[in-house]
Symmetry: C2
Subunit: 100 residues, 2 copies
């Protein structure tokens, strides 16, 4: 294996790890706007709203995108989701998944 290939793989792994750590911190910051309903610990304040602690990342991402594009409608979540970028969605989904 060439030295440049090894260096490339090393840098890719480093970038991946760095990005992942940043995701959870950024996700925690974004999750502040969700905490009023879904709880700071991912356990909802009202039984009509879902607990998100430990929920699957892909499922949370897909639901937020569905609220954005109108495939899923909810008077609270549809407007809330509009403010989120694709990165916000990925980060906040990873954050809620990380909670017990």
């Amino acid at each position: 294996m060439k030295k440049t290939t090894v260096l490339g793989i090393f840098c890719s792994l480093l970038a991946f790890n760095t990005a992942y750590a940043a995701d959870l911190e950024a996700g925690k910051a974004t999750a502040a706007i969700c905490a009023g309903c879904h709880g700071a610990d991912g356990h909802a304040a009202n039984p009509e709203w879902p607990n998100l602690a430990g929920q699957n990342v892909k499922y949370i991402e897909n639901q937020l995108k569905s609220f954005q594009n109108g495939n899923r409608k909810n008077e609270l979540m549809s407007p809330m989701a509009q403010s989120l970028s694709a990165d916000d969605i990925a980060n906040v989904a990873a954050y809620f998944n990380s909670l017990k």
Copy 2:
């Protein structure tokens, strides 16, 4: 307090307890049709599907009713929900809520 009032309260409590016990057992039976995707233990086999273990009863009930009446649409869940009675929904929601 009259004896008949005391007896009435006792019977009400007995009926409530009996009904609650029956709910979880009936819910477990109904949940067999959900297990292929949401897992026998409420943990989904695919990250695109939600974990339901410990999810709030009212939230699960509302989502199943939304799939039934078309307020929420999903190619898998919309037809699955059609087969459920109001009792099935209450029982299966209580069952998934009871899982860790």
